[in-house]
């Protein structure tokens, strides 16, 4: 699955993303029931969200506001007139057996997402964003299935992209930026584990240069960005292979409309159901609701009140802190992380180093734990202190890595204290002692010395390494470099 087929290079993928986002309003979209995850089943319900006879929907104005905020944040057109429609389908998680959604007149039209992909800024077009209510959740037990209506009626915005995404990396960058924007304007928790951010994708492939779109399939159930990337990679490969291994079959017979789900165990897309014909949802205007009519003032006020958005923050980081675009994007993609970074900057001015420690060193240490720098309890002040200790020469870079390991093991302890408590972390500044080690290494490695003198720099690095070993990493590499060079130069050949 991972081998590269040269023929595949002549193909491109066409990807569209549909992202469902649960808004973090206090109550649901059409009922006063609390909009809250994780409570006892069927406790956050009213007659409206359980589809009792005679119940009527009443629109949550806060949800409208949040939808408009998002529309403004992606520079889309906010529809001054939009309306709701009934979308009919039968399923136990649907309390009325019709969803209230926006079919042909959504509240937000168009929009742009600018995200960094492999170091470059790329622009992606959004087709529309609309409001709709969520369904309940089916829970399966051994002898029966139960329905929990806590989630039924929760407010969603559905963000539909144009089919303008061409690689899995682009898809991830696009989705991450949307998530970041949602967090920055505080309209959603964006918690993929809890289902407050859900991504479905439509994928098709075609030979490069071909203008028409070929048949696409839908992939559901990818509940992380990395799963999405894997699923897309896998599916794109599968589709191209299908075309390549069936050269005599008519093109529209090779890939047929279907829905797949991502299987994280098998690490491949698995067919859920074929879609022979399009579903007939019998959309018609919702007679129990009046249209949403917005004024220019309402929209402008929201636009003016938007906070700094991820792209603006990213550009600020590049401008003010001299970070690379990639570093700035990685930091600002997660609002909490960017906030953490700026908090640390209050006591440490080395932005580049801080960024490296957050994005590389600690990120690497956190990777398999499922935690983040925030959840594990390491304070921004402490990362700042660590960087300061290095910059002040109080510890070497190498020692700092051990200190970082200690901070991971005992989160919340000030690194200055960790250093003070551990004699091994005290830097070796005794030049005489280092000179002693230098002499020893030179004596033990005559061949390497000769190699270095003959012009092989690698030999020198080896010698430095040997000295650092003897110093148990506590000496400043710079000092060791100087002393070693000096000693070798002074040596008689």
């Amino acid at each position: 699955m991972s081998h590269k087929h040269p023929d595949h290079d002549n193909w491109e993928a066409v990807i569209g993303l549909e992202i469902h986002v649960e808004l973090n309003t206090k109550s649901k979209l059409f009922s006063v029931a609390p909009n809250h995850f994780g409570d006892e089943p069927n406790t956050n319900i009213t007659e409206v969200c359980t589809g009792q006879p005679g119940a009527l929907p009443v629109l949550n104005k806060e949800a409208v506001r949040k939808a408009v905020q998002f529309g403004c944040a992606i520079q889309a057109e906010i529809a001054k007139f939009s309306k709701f429609d009934r979308k009919s389908y039968f399923y136990p998680d649907s309390p009325r057996n019709f969803q209230i959604t926006q079919y042909d007149q959504p509240i937000v039209k168009g929009g742009t997402i600018i995200a960094e992909v492999n170091g470059e800024e790329k622009s992606f077009a959004v087709n529309r964003v609309h409001l709709e209510d969520d369904a309940g959740m089916l829970k399966h037990f051994s002898t029966f299935a139960g329905v929990d209506y806590n989630r039924a009626g929760c407010p969603l915005i559905e963000i539909v992209s144009e089919p303008c995404i061409h690689t899995p990396q682009e898809a991830v960058a696009y989705a991450m930026m949307i998530k970041a924007i949602l967090q920055y304007i505080d309209v959603s928790d964006c918690n993929m584990d809890e289902g407050s951010l859900r991504i479905d994708t439509n994928v098709s492939v075609r030979p490069k240069g071909e203008k028409e779109l070929r048949n696409k399939i839908e992939i559901k159930n990818m509940n992380s960005f990395s799963f999405m990337e894997m699923a897309l990679k896998s599916e794109i490969h599968r589709q191209i292979e299908e075309y390549l291994t069936n050269p005599n079959v008519p093109q529209d017979q090779i890939i047929k409309q279907a829905t797949y789900r991502w299987d994280p165990e098998k690490k491949e897309t698995v067919l859920m159901r074929r879609k022979e014909t399009a579903d007939d949802y019998r959309y018609f205007p919702e007679p129990d609701l009046v249209p949403i009519i917005l004024t220019d003032t309402y929209i402008e006020d929201i636009r003016q009140a938007l906070p700094e958005l991820p792209l603006q923050r990213e550009r600020r980081y590049v401008r003010n802190f001299d970070l690379s675009r990639h570093q700035a994007f990685a930091l600002t993609s997660d609002k909490a992380l960017a906030d953490y970074f700026e908090e640390a900057l209050k006591t440490c001015s080395n932005a580049r180093s801080l960024s490296n420690w957050l994005l590389v060193e600690f990120a690497g240490r956190l990777k398999d734990s499922g935690e983040t720098i925030l959840s594990i309890g390491i304070k921004p002040l402490h990362i700042a202190t660590l960087v300061n200790l290095i910059d002040q020469g109080k510890i070497t870079g190498r020692i700092a890595k051990s200190v970082a390991d200690d901070m991971m093991a005992r989160p919340g302890i000030d690194p200055a204290i960790i250093v003070a408590d551990n004699p091994d972390y005290q830097p070796l500044n005794d030049q005489a002692q280092i000179e002693g080690f230098v002499n020893q290494v030179i004596a033990d490695n005559a061949q390497s010395v000769a190699d270095y003198k003959a012009g092989r720099d690698k030999a020198f690095a080896f010698l430095v390494g040997q000295v650092m070993k003897l110093c148990r990493g506590k000496a400043s590499p710079q000092l060791v470099n100087e002393l070693l060079k000096d000693r070798i130069e002074k040596m008689k050949i």
Binding site: Q52, P53, G54
Partner: protein
């Protein structure tokens, strides 16, 4: 007492001349005597009503302020939810459905100290024009027990006609308050769409439904409207106005009023009905009204448009009855598909199934443009037609139905049944206020009604003229013979 108005009864209670318990007891006794022949109630709240009456008597004794409906026993159509009580909508599907919340109108009634005396029979899910579609029982017209009381609010109309209670609530989607009102010789009023809250009314046609009162006297309907005609924050289609005053605004003249009559549209009226209608118009003329011809020929499409739009909305409104959350679930169902299929198969009657299928069809891919969308466009033309007509007149007058009440079982063809609504459905499509008042009696002694229709929000004008005409029309508060007996207290 049974020929007294609700207002008179309330006043007697408030003045201390009668106790609430005696009033309730009186009507409960009438129910006990006549109900088994009429069948208007699905449930009589005997204990509850007497309890409410006791509380009310205590309130009065303690000199607490009393509501506008104090002591009046009121019947409520069984598609309007009373919290904690079964609401069947006259369907097998909901014989076990206990309402977990209450309709706004019921809250309003209780806040004004009304006594809810019971729930009345209806066509199943309000689909029908004769109450024959009730899955639970038959209701007989007090004027002739072989005849239907009209529908779908037949139970409420029959109860009022038989003086089993002075006031009742019904619901009107295509004529379901006005038609039974006409068939039973009582006043039936449909408010402007949005005037009365639909919260707690089991929905049939969402853009057409309105709850409306039925009473012997127009003044009682006006009183009821003063209580229930107001904005409700739980109904997004509720107009942001009200309550209005009606009783204090009654005028004693229709001098100079312009009454529009769509003569063209009435071409096919049977002789007796035509004669009765023309007499009513003549009376109005004599009282100083000006009769103006108006063009409502577009209404020849009204039945078609109504049965497309109402059934479309109904097909989605009734989708929630699926055997999953409440109501009856078919015991023979083993899979999810079967729960859906068998529960609906067993729970719904033929007419309900018919309308759900029709509504689903007109919304389905490939047909929606030709049926649903086309019907919406024609609806707009009807709105314009009415508006144009009202630029020439203050109210429009028509008969309520082509005939008086027909014998039960005499109309088997569903489409022929639909044609009963020919004069009433246009009003719902345009959201207009309209009333049916008893006009005269046929040779065989059956009531014929007169319909008055006003522009949107002119409920007051409609009630005003109805109140005036009540005094001059030949019907003159006639009472069905067999209920014309006093029941000893």
């Amino acid at each position: 007492m049974y020929n007294q108005s609700a207002i008179e009864i309330r006043d007697q209670f408030v003045r201390g001349e009668r106790t609430a318990v005696s009033i309730a007891r009186y009507y409960l006794d009438r129910i006990a005597k006549f109900e088994n022949q009429i069948g208007s109630f699905l449930k009589v709240y005997e204990d509850k009503a007497l309890y409410q009456a006791e509380q009310l008597d205590k309130k009065r004794a303690a000199n607490q302020s009393l509501g506008k409906l104090a002591g009046i026993p009121i019947a409520v159509k069984d598609n309007i939810l009373v919290k904690g009580e079964i609401a069947t909508c006259a369907s097998k599907f909901l014989t076990n459905y206990r309402a977990p919340y209450q309709a706004t109108v019921v809250d309003l009634l209780l806040a004004e100290d009304a006594i809810i005396i019971g729930k009345t029979n209806m066509d199943e899910f309000a689909m029908g024009s004769s109450t024959e579609n009730s899955a639970l029982q038959k209701t007989h017209n007090p004027w002739n027990l072989k005849c239907t009381p009209g529908g779908s609010s037949g139970g409420s109309a029959a109860a009022v006609a038989a003086r089993l209670c002075p006031l009742a609530l019904g619901s009107d989607t295509g004529g379901s308050v006005r038609l039974p009102g006409a068939f039973c010789g009582v006043v039936g009023f449909k408010p402007t769409y949005g005037r009365v809250s639909r919260y707690g009314l089991v929905a049939y046609g969402s853009s057409l439904d309105q709850i409306g009162p039925l009473s012997v006297y127009t003044a009682d309907t006006a009183l009821m409207m003063e209580v229930i005609g107001r904005n409700c924050t739980r109904d997004s289609t509720s107009i942001p106005e009200g309550p209005e005053e009606y009783l204090s605004q009654f005028k004693n003249s229709i001098q100079g009023m312009k009454i529009g009559v769509p003569w063209q549209f009435l071409d096919n009226l049977a002789d007796e009905s035509r004669h009765a209608f023309e007499q009513a118009i003549e009376s109005m003329k004599q009282q100083g009204a000006q009769i103006v011809e108006v063009d409502l020929s577009i209404l020849k499409y009204a039945i078609a448009v109504y049965y497309i739009l109402a059934t479309a909305e109904a097909s989605t409104n009734l989708a929630r009855f699926d055997g999953i959350r409440y109501g009856q679930r078919s015991p023979r169902a083993k899979t999810l598909e079967e729960v859906y299929d068998f529960s609906k198969e067993d729970g719904f009657g033929a007419e309900v199934k018919r309308r759900i299928m029709l509504g689903t069809f007109v919304l389905s891919a490939g047909y929606q443009d030709a049926y649903y969308r086309k019907a919406q466009k024609v609806r707009t033309l009807m709105l314009r037609s009415y508006k144009e007509a009202f630029s020439k007149c203050d109210l429009i007058a028509t008969p309520v139905s082509p005939f008086a009440a027909f014998e039960m079982g005499s109309i088997q063809d569903p489409v022929q049944m639909y044609l009963q609504d020919i004069y009433t459905v246009g009003v719902n499509l345009a959201g207009l206020p309209a009333v049916s008042i008893p006009n005269s009696l046929t040779k065989s002694g059956m009531p014929l009604g007169l319909q008055l229709i006003g522009p949107q929000k002119e409920d007051r004008r409609v009630l005003n003229v109805a109140h005036f005409l009540e005094k001059i029309l030949p019907f003159h508060n006639a009472t069905p013979k067999f209920v014309n007996e006093e029941v000893k207290l």
